[in-house]
């Protein structure tokens, strides 16, 4: 047996060998660790080499940023015709909202950011007042967007574009989480009526395609409602989208509730905490934390599903885009239009995804290995 350089109990902590740390070790471990890995690395580099320069060429170097029509673009450059997006930008953003009143949308958007800050960031200065403001925000923004009480009333028919996406998305996200929580708890309730109602609600809304619900909202509801009642189409869509997302949310949260060890419920019970107190302080904070990836997944799904409203005649960004393409001046520029809309959705969804990762890291308290 070889003699150790140190006596038993006196071995110091040594640094790891130099070839296992640093950039060279990283390349060795991640890019060229095996023959398959080498092949994949080479293929990836070749793929990027083929794609990136061509894309940059089309989107920037050989693109036309100004022009009055497609033909003018084509005369200048062979690539993308961004002049189209530039000319239609306001339509994409505001829909058919009256031009003089568009500042109200801008203001509502700024206020949305102000309201989100204290909700999403727990070290926000004056957070308590910020949260009060966040609770008031839905009413303020509703007033700003719809008008009345001194502002010029705007009909929801005139909503459109990204603004419509945000209205549906933010409303759906804001209301589907609490409703989903209530449904998830209801599904686990000891009270049979509450449980059966929750189960049927969830199963119904999960079992029916969203498009069907939107059609019900836009046409069939008229048969059930007393004749003569008017019930705003956008409001109906908001309700359907919210209920649809709530059903998914409930199942995601139920997964989190079931993942908690029974001991957590028992410990809370054994201290004499009341049901709602133990849910609010002990069970839900942990269950929601476990469910973050699923919750954000549902949010992103909901946000992208807002594009379905085009089917019942609301003009979301894709609707605006398609009607713009019908204009003979700009016909045939669908690449630019879809790419533009895709970038908008990607930025929003990627933001949500990154925030969920940040939240998961922030809430880690040492039990994760």
């Amino acid at each position: 047996m070889e003699q150790s350089a140190y006596k038993p109990g006196e071995h110091p902590n040594l640094p790891p060998p130099s070839n296992t740390v640093g950039p060279i070790a990283w390349v060795r471990a991640n890019l060229i660790s095996s023959p398959t890995n080498i092949v994949l690395t080479v293929l990836s580099i070749w793929f990027l080499y083929e794609i990136i320069p061509a894309t940059l060429e089309w989107a920037f170097m050989d693109a036309a940023f100004t022009g009055e029509s497609r033909d003018e673009c084509r005369a200048k450059a062979g690539g993308a015709c961004w002049a189209f997006i530039g000319e239609r930008f306001n339509l994409f953003t505001y829909g058919f909202y009256p031009a003089d009143e568009r500042w109200r949308i801008d203001l509502a958007f700024v206020l949305l950011c102000v309201a989100l800050l204290p909700v999403l960031w727990d070290r926000c200065p004056f957070r308590k007042y910020g949260l009060y403001f966040a609770c008031a925000f839905p009413f303020i923004s509703g007033w700003l967007l719809l008008g009345g009480f001194g502002l010029m009333p705007v009909d929801t028919d005139e909503f459109g574009g990204f603004m419509l996406t945000l209205v549906i998305g933010v409303t759906g996200i804001t209301f589907s989480l609490p409703i989903g929580i209530i449904l998830a708890l209801g599904r686990q309730s000891d009270m049979p009526i509450v449980r059966v109602f929750s189960i049927w609600f969830i199963e119904f809304f999960r079992g029916v395609p969203l498009i069907t619900l939107l059609f019900v909202a836009s046409t069939m509801l008229n048969y059930f409602l007393p004749t003569g009642t008017t019930f705003d189409l956008l409001l109906r869509v908001l309700i359907m989208v919210t209920l649809f997302a709530s059903a998914y949310m409930a199942e995601v949260i139920r997964g989190g509730l079931q993942a908690l060890p029974r001991g957590q419920y028992e410990a809370a019970d054994s201290m004499g905490l009341k049901y709602w107190t133990s849910m609010r302080l002990i069970i839900l904070p942990q269950a929601l934390k476990i469910s973050i990836p699923g919750i954000v997944n549902t949010f992103i799904g909901l946000y992208k599903d807002t594009t379905l409203v085009i089917i019942i005649g609301l003009l979301d960004p894709l609707g605006v885009g398609r009607s713009s393409l019908a204009d003979t001046k700009w016909t045939g520029l669908s690449n630019e239009m879809y790419l533009f809309v895709a970038i908008f959705f990607f930025i929003s969804c990627f933001g949500m995804s990154r925030y969920s990762l940040y939240l998961e890291k922030k809430l880690a308290t040492g039990y994760e290995r």
Binding site: G263, E266, A267, D269, S270, M271, G272, L281, G366, E368
Partner: protein
């Protein structure tokens, strides 16, 4: 037989805190607890032992109604445990419980774990609850860990926090459900030391455990259970030196001679 044992143990001047009379419990068709009769005096320390599946954990979990009994009665500090949630909450307020797997709340710091129930159940002001919590954390010898999360502590430390958390509610009875069974051997002693301290302070304790050394030093009475019945109960030295039933003798020979 149980009645007579209680009387022989009983001191007429001492108050009875827990009365269990003709109590039965079933899990579906399975009869887990059969005709349990047990009186616990204030300040009494009872160790419950027996093979696994004998119903000992279920018995103490019935005392704060984590499990429901189907027949007979359980009266804790004058309150009978029934379906009435008010009674259940009243009893749970007065009865602390320590679990095998600690069941600390991982998303709260040690201090918040300790102050949660006093603040929300007893409606104590936060400063007062925190002062009490620090006092008990001092008693279980981990005041310096107050602002850490449970996941950052060792098993023994977590279990001591769990004991402190229960004590913060100033309970009249403490239930221990195998408090050392999930611990590494090195950590069992630090938890048992805290429990011995607590016993010396006069706490009423019911403890399900396999630590026979603890039973010998601390218990006023040892109860042996098998297949849902209380087979035998006695003072510890009588119980260990002179067991009456064959089943008890077999059990003791198996746990003591290994």
């Amino acid at each position: 037989m149980n009645e007579s044992a209680n009387k022989s143990n009983g001191n007429p001047e001492r108050e009875i805190v827990i009365v269990i009379r003709k109590m039965h419990k079933w899990y579906g068709q399975f009869h887990v607890l059969k005709d349990i009769n047990l009186n616990v005096e204030r300040g009494e320390k009872i160790v419950i032992c027996g093979p696994s599946g004998s119903g000992k954990s279920t018995l103490i979990r019935c005392i704060n109604r984590l499990e429901e009994h189907q027949d007979g009665e359980i009266i804790v500090d004058g309150t009978e445990l029934t379906n009435d949630l008010k009674n259940v909450e009243l009893v749970r307020r007065e009865v602390g419980m320590v679990f095998q797997h600690f069941n600390l709340f991982p998303h709260l710091t040690v201090l918040d774990n300790c102050t949660l129930a006093p603040i929300w159940v007893r409606k104590e002001p936060r400063e007062e609850a925190e002062a009490t919590a620090m006092e008990y954390l001092e008693r279980v010898k981990i005041p310096d860990q107050a602002n850490k999360f449970p996941g950052q502590l060792s098993g023994g430390q977590q279990q001591r926090v769990a004991i402190a958390r229960s004590l913060c509610m100033k309970p009249r009875v403490m239930l221990f459900d195998e408090p050392t069974s999930a611990l590494d051997p090195e950590m069992i002693k630090e938890v048992l030391d805290v429990m011995i301290e607590l016993a010396k302070g006069g706490m009423t304790m019911l403890c399900v455990t396999h630590e026979m050394g603890f039973a010998k030093t601390v218990a006023d009475r040892v109860i042996f259970m098998d297949e849902g019945e209380i087979i035998e109960q006695n003072k510890p030295h009588e119980f260990f030196d002179n067991p009456q039933h064959d089943r008890t003798k077999l059990f003791l020979s198996q746990i003591l001679n290994h």
